[in-house]
């Protein structure tokens, strides 16, 4: 039981769980429910179940590709041999059932949103549709589901209708997320090319991918300028994030090795998450009628909190939790050979 739960947690990628949680929180804040945290909890149940379903379906369909791209990676339990296909199928069906059932506790349209999201998740990975193999279509549709479902569930935890302002904010988040999710193909490019998975990167190359990502970042930032209560503080924060992201994408457009790519892409992800957090903070402070000076101070602090780790990531890269114990390193290191002994004896003689 514990092993299965551990596999589930690895499967769901905690960073993605937090990202989906942030999108749901954005929806709750946009609908004016930022101070009612119970609503966030209600929205998170179908959101997380939806995420688990999508990840399971993706892992089931990409098992062979993951064995090439991520051999032995425990975050891909099927490819790593930690669980079987039948077990993962049961997990997926259970997650889908929980998602639909839990969405029924929100306002009525939430069930339709969840069902549509599950259908999109299945169509993305499973044949005969398999949107994942369709290049640009995949790059446009997957972010739509990954952003819209948690965000709309957050809105529908507060009220049963969606306004034009809600859709405008969704559009800004969506455009930004497209720009970010294109970059995940850099890690998988070798296996994708081998198996004929024609991602945007495989089709168009590095420079075009970075250029398109940059375009999405600019478009997303411009759309976010129409968010409810937009002011100079939020505008400055979004502008700083945009400049930083464009700089990172410019660096990524030049091939400097896989490790450098990983550092840059991780830094872009930090800035993307920071953008979402900043939007939530802005909506919350607006609803709470905080003074302009205090809001600007908070925005300034958030920008520092986001750019600091992004800079560290670029310079040092992700911190590995795995270290080789010193004892193992000593045992593995080759001792002096017979040739070394002979040479040292010759020198003494």
């Amino acid at each position: 039981m514990t092993a299965r739960m551990r596999i589930l947690i690895l499967l769901a990628r905690p960073a993605v769980v937090v990202l989906f949680g942030l999108f749901a929180a954005t929806g709750v804040a946009e609908a004016g429910g930022a101070s009612r945290t119970v609503l966030l909890a209600k929205a998170l149940v179908p959101t997380i179940a939806f995420l688990v379903f999508c990840v399971v379906v993706n892992d089931l369909s990409d098992e062979a590709i993951d064995r090439v791209n991520l051999p032995g990676d425990r975050r891909r339990p099927l490819a790593a041999g930690l669980c079987g296909r039948r077990e993962l199928t049961v997990v997926g069906v259970t997650a889908a059932t929980i998602a639909v059932t839990a969405s029924a506790a929100l306002h009525r349209p939430a069930v339709a949103v969840t069902t549509a999201g599950l259908a999109l998740g299945a169509a993305y990975s499973l044949r005969p549709v398999r949107i994942a193999d369709r290049g640009a279509v995949a790059s446009l549709l997957l972010p739509a589901g990954y952003v819209a479902v948690p965000y709309l569930l957050g809105v529908m935890a507060v009220r049963g209708s969606v306004t034009a302002a809600d859709l405008r904010l969704l559009g800004g988040l969506y455009a930004g997320f497209i720009g970010r999710i294109l970059l995940k193909d850099f890690r998988d490019v070798r296996g994708d090319a081998l198996f004929g998975k024609r991602t945007f990167l495989v089709r168009h190359g590095r420079r075009a991918t970075c250029a398109f990502s940059a375009t999405c970042w600019v478009a997303g930032s411009l759309i976010l300028a129409g968010v409810r209560g937009f002011d100079a503080g939020l505008g400055t924060a979004l502008g700083v994030y945009l400049v930083a992201a464009l700089g990172l994408l410019g660096a990524l457009s030049v091939d400097g090795g896989a490790r450098r790519d990983e550092r840059l892409i991780s830094a872009v992800a930090i800035i993307a998450r920071g953008t979402v957090v900043t939007i939530i903070a802005h909506l919350s402070m607006t609803d709470a009628h905080w003074s302009g000076a205090v809001q600007r101070s908070v925005m300034f602090g958030l920008v520092l909190v986001v750019l600091g780790p992004a800079r560290t990531m670029v310079r040092r890269g992700p911190v590995s939790r795995l270290t080789v114990p010193a004892e193992w390193a000593r045992q593995a290191a080759p001792g002096p050979s017979a040739v070394d002994h002979a040479l040292s004896a010759g020198r003494r003689g």
């Binding site: 299965r4 945290t37 998170l44 929980i98």
Partner: protein, 57 residues
């Protein structure tokens, strides 16, 4: 005279029952795992995103 029937030994429980218990275990683990992830997401989002939330009072 016919040969006596071979002794079959003690009856083993049907495999279907063992399979259903396994499926139930996976379902339960999935439900508990999702609940745990929801709790983690809730706590993290509360601390990260809503810590600077003001009060309407």
């Amino acid at each position: 005279m016919t040969a006596p029937l071979p002794h079959r030994g003690p009856r083993r429980p049907p495999r279907v029952t063992a399979e259903w218990w396994k499926v139930a275990g996976v379902v339960l683990a999935t439900a508990v795992g999702i609940a745990g992830l929801v709790l983690v997401a809730y706590v993290v989002v509360i601390f990260i995103a809503l810590a600077n939330m003001g009060s309407n009072k």
